[in-house]
Structure formats: C-alpha cells, structure tokens
C-alpha cells in the first residue's frame, strides 16, 4: 500500500457522538462497532478513578461488537445494532455478576436476563458493563454502594470530588464522561432524574408500567421504573422506544402500544399549556435555580407555549409519604436475602442466627435503616397510623396532578433543589439527604413520567436540570417540550467543554 487509508473519525471523537449520530456513522460505515466499542473501552480504562462501573465486560462487548459488524455489513441488524451502552447493576444479566451495589449479593450470577436489558440486547446494543449505584438503589449521592463512591466528572473551582447524584450515579457519570454512549437507570424517587441533572445529561423516568420491572432487583415495587440516561433528548426517545413495552412477566406492565417517541421531537410547543406549580418554589431555593426555572418558562413562551400558574397543594407531603411507602415495600422485598438461596451467607448456629448474621453483614447502614423503618410502619399497631395514612395521602397527591392536567398539558419545575455537592459535604442526617428528591418524588407516587434536561449552570459552574412532568403514558409531550428547552438552552456537556 502506498497511500494511507482515510481516517475520517478520530478515536476521541467517537466517544463524543450521540447515540443517533453513532447509529448513522455505523450505517454509513464511517467506523465499525468494534472501533466504536474499543474507543469506549479505552476511555473506561483511562477513567477508572470515577468508579462508574462495578464490572467492565470488555471481552463480551468486543464479541458482541464483532457480531454487530457482521449484521451491519449485511445491511441487517436492530434499532441499536452495534451501539455500546452501560447497564445499571440493578438489571439482572444472564451469566454476568449482578450486585445491586450490595455485599449481600456477593457472587450472584443470574441465570436469566431482565426484560429491559433483553430488549436492548435483541435490538443489537452492546453492553460495556454494569454501572455503580447506591446499594439497592437507595440513595441520592451514590455513596452507599458496597463498591465505593462514584465521582462526578464535573469539578467546581475548588477541585473537590463531587457526587454524580444517585442512585443511578455510575450510569450518569459514565454517560457524562464518555464511558458509554447511553445507559439504563432506574428511578424510585428521582434516581434517574437527579443524577442526570447533577451530571449534565438527559434522563427520563417513564410512566409507571411503561417498562417491565421483570429481572430488575426490586426496591419499592409500586414506584420503581426503568428509563434511559443519554446525551440528548433524541437519544432518550430512541432508547426508551426499545426499552419499553408490555411484558406478561410483570403484571404491572401496561398492555399499551409504545409510540414512536422520535416523532414528538419536531412538533414544537405552539399552543401547549405549561404549568408552573407554586409549591415547587421552595423556601431558600438558590437564586440560580429560580432564575433558570424562569428562563425555561420564557423559552417555552417564546416558542409559542402558554405559561399557567398552577397549584399542587400536597407537594410538601410527598417525601414523608415516600419515606413510609418505599421502606415498607423495601422491607418486604429485601426479606428474600436470607443467606440460603443466593448471595452472601454468614454462618450461624441456628437458622435465625444465620439470617441475622447474613443480613447484618450483607446490608449497609442506609439499607438497614430503611428495612427497620419499613418493618416498623408495617408492624401490628402502627400499620393504620403510618402505612394506610401514607397510602391515603398518596391518593391526594395523585389527585392534585389529575386536577392540574385538566388545566395544563405539561408541568415545568427544576429537577433538584441544588447543584452537585462535594462528597465530603454529604449530610450526616439521613433526612437532609432525602431532601435531594423533594422535586422528583411526586412523579413516582403518582406514576407519572418525568424528564430532566440539562439547561444551565449554577453559580459555581455546575450543571442544573429542568424537569418536565406529564400525564400518564404521555412521554411524547415531555420529548416535545424537552427538545425545545434543549435547543434554547444550548447547554454544553462535560465532553463539549
């Protein structure tokens, strides 16, 4: 050979592409899936200090990428053929260790695949590995994982290590830092949206029932939903389309057709009614967040939407309701970890001792706190006062939204009450930590879809997100409005800086 082959795309450019652009690049043969996958594997190896992955699976990934390249060469392949993504380590993956960030699942290798990750695999996606998370997805800073803290790639001027948010902190850090094109997350009280906001990426918690929960390690079954975490709104639409769908193996999965979410992206917001709930303006909310919220409303107004003040009167009770119901469901779901059927076993003289030794060693402090609260609120004599009471207030919170959606098509709020905080500034009082989810948790209680879009920077130069909430099964309206905010904000991601 006398001439050098043209090299249109540099390796470090590959990790900056969106899912949609990479898909186009593969179709045009600008690069192969093996090249793309290798670029990510190299980036992962270079950024292990972020601790975004609990387990990297480079060999599996390259084998899958080779298979994808063959399919692409034949002009066949699925909607995500050859695209390297990361899977939160809460989704069971057949033949690959799944930890839920907990010591108690030590050595657990599922013999089955979660429906959502199966859907992604079937569509041709290449899994790069399993991302770090708060233990059993319980946390808002990714500091309760048995496998260590995740570090946000973003830095403040003081250079301290910041939290990427949680519980899907590994997925958020991976997508932000270029260690995966996109990732899966799960959201029980804000665990997709809050880390997406802290890391400057897009995250959507779909309507409860949109994605199957089968094969996802259960936390609070009436609140848990899987969703995509991506570089932009289009990618979220693309990925959710593949993840979602009815699954007879999850009796709460909705027997509804999944719309083509991408169609919503070009529809604009002309004539849409956007609600601004006054209760979300928290006392002491930082000025930069209030200003960004106002800016978001202005962008939508300029694009032809009508801004309407609304009230969601029971908002302040969402977190207290959540901290009854989520621990109650968790205490029941986590009863299965007994040291007998899978995971860690710490011997004991009697069966009860074996249970107690295994569970006390295997679960971290936050998980034990929640199991204890849940056990208490479900125990005889307290069930009515706590559990039933919380279920009743949940009804009122849901009715607030039903009334609001008679007046508006979508609701605009900030995603979080602050920007990312430093890992050494984490609150010692668990209740203070819980307040991170104050703006996101209502959507879980009411089962509604919520999207976080990066929209600006805090006074310290850290990403801030705006949240959109929609009626049940209307993720399309979130993508419609989210795209307009994204275009107006022209937010520069970590990789673009």
């Amino acid at each position: 050979m006398t001439t050098l082959a043209p090299k249109p795309v540099l390796k470090n450019d590959l990790i900056r592409l969106t899912l949609a652009d990479a898909k186009e690049g593969l179709a045009k043969k600008s690069f192969s899936s093996v090249e793309l996958t290798q670029a990510y594997l190299d980036a992962m190896a270079e950024h292990r200090h972020l601790n975004a992955y609990i387990l990297e699976t480079p060999e599996l990934a390259l084998t899958r990428a080779e298979e994808s390249d063959k399919k692409l060469a034949q002009g066949s392949g699925g909607a995500l053929e050859g695209l390297p993504i990361a899977i939160k380590d809460l989704f069971c993956s057949a033949g690959t260790q799944t930890t839920a960030g907990s010591h108690i699942l030590k050595g657990f290798t599922p013999t089955y695949e979660s429906t959502v990750s199966h859907n992604l695999k079937t569509a041709g996606a290449v899994s790069l590995g399993k991302t770090n998370l708060d233990e059993f997805a319980m946390g808002s800073a990714n500091i309760t994982s048995y496998y260590g803290n995740v570090i946000n790639p973003w830095k403040r001027a003081d250079g301290k290590d910041l939290t990427p948010g949680g519980s899907s902190g590994g997925s958020a850090a991976a997508v932000a830092a270029g260690l995966a094109i996109a990732a899966t997350g799960t959201d029980t009280g804000g665990s997709i949206r809050q880390p997406a906001a802290f890391s400057g990426i897009v995250g959507i918690k779909p309507t409860y029932g949109r994605c199957s929960r089968w094969g996802i390690v259960a936390f609070a079954s009436s609140l848990d939903q899987a969703g995509p975490m991506t570089r932009d709104v289009r990618d979220a639409a693309l990925l959710l389309k593949v993840m979602a769908g009815h699954d007879p193996k999850d009796s709460t999965s909705a027997p509804r057709e999944v719309p083509d979410f991408e169609k919503a992206l070009t529809q604009g917001v002309k004539g849409l009614r956007v609600g601004i709930p006054k209760e979300y303006r928290l006392p002491g909310m930082p000025d930069d967040i209030v200003k960004l919220w106002e800016k978001g409303a202005k962008w939508l107004q300029e694009a032809g939407a009508e801004i309407i003040d609304i009230s969601l009167p029971h908002t302040k009770y969402s977190l207290p309701v959540y901290y009854v119901l989520a621990p109650a469901e968790a205490s029941s779901n986590l009863a299965r970890y007994d040291g007998v059927r899978y995971g860690l076993r710490v011997p004991g003289g009697t069966l009860d001792e074996l249970y107690e030794n295994t569970r006390s060693d295997g679960f971290g402090d936050e998980v034990q706190r929640r199991i204890l609260i849940g056990t208490y609120v479900l125990s005889a004599g307290y069930y009515d006062a706590y559990y039933l009471k919380a279920q009743r207030v949940r009804t009122l919170i849901t009715q607030d939204f039903q009334k609001a959606f008679e007046k508006v098509d979508v609701i605009l709020t900030p995603t979080t009450p602050s920007a990312a905080f430093a890992l050494d500034e984490k609150p010692t009082d668990p209740v203070v930590m819980y307040l991170n989810d104050v703006l996101t948790v209502s959507a879980n209680l009411a089962g509604l879809p919520g999207l976080s879009v990066p929209a600006g920077l805090s006074s310290e130069g850290l990403p801030l997100g705006l949240q959109l909430l929609g009626p049940a099964f209307d993720e399309s309206v979130l993508f419609r409005v989210g795209k307009v905010i994204e275009d107006a904000a022209a937010f520069k991601s970590f990789l673009e800086r």
């Binding site: 599922p110 207290p320 007994d338 034990q368 204890l372 009743r392 049940a472």
Partner: protein, 95 residues
C-alpha cells in the same frame, strides 16, 4: 412518636437484623429523625380518602393456569451458598 431502645430491638428482631450496642444509639437517633419527618402526615385530613397501593393498574391481569416453566433445578440452585442432594442446606431446625 419516639422509639425507645427496646422497640428498636424488637423491630430489628422482626427484620432479622442484629444491632450491636455501639450501632444501637446512632440507629435509634436516625430512626427517630425519620419518624419525626414522617409525622408531618398527621397534618393532612384523610378521613374520606381511599388508600392507594399502586398506580396505572386498574385490573390485575390473569393468565392461563398452565405450566410454563420448570425443570430448571440446576438454575435454581446455581447461586446457592450450600447445596446437597438438589436442596438448599440450612442449619438444623428440628430436634
């Protein structure tokens, strides 16, 4: 409502968790913080409100009562810490 040490101990037994003496104090304090936070719910009038267990699931679906799984003993036992004769092993529970 405030939890005393005895109550925390009783809940821990129900949950099959063991709290050492040095962990008992901080755990009791944390749980009481959380319960104080939860007690805000008493401000809300809920007399005629129906409790809600879940969302978007108006009717529980039924499937045909047929065998659709099974003969996977190996898979069921694959992750067990201790196995004998195709069974999970536990400490002796009968005298």
């Amino acid at each position: 409502m405030s939890l005393d040490k005895e109550t925390v101990k009783r809940i821990a037994t129900l949950a099959r968790l063991k709290l050492s003496d040095e962990r008992m104090g901080p755990m009791q304090q944390d749980l009481n913080h959380i319960l104080t936070f939860i007690d805000q719910l008493n401000e809300v009038e809920t007399k005629d409100v129906t409790p809600m267990a879940g969302v978007n699931t108006p009717a529980m679906p039924f499937r045909k009562d047929v065998v659709n799984d099974g003969d996977i003993v190996e898979q069921v036992l694959a992750n067990a810490p201790e196995v004998a004769c195709n069974m999970f092993v536990v400490p002796k529970v009968v005298e």
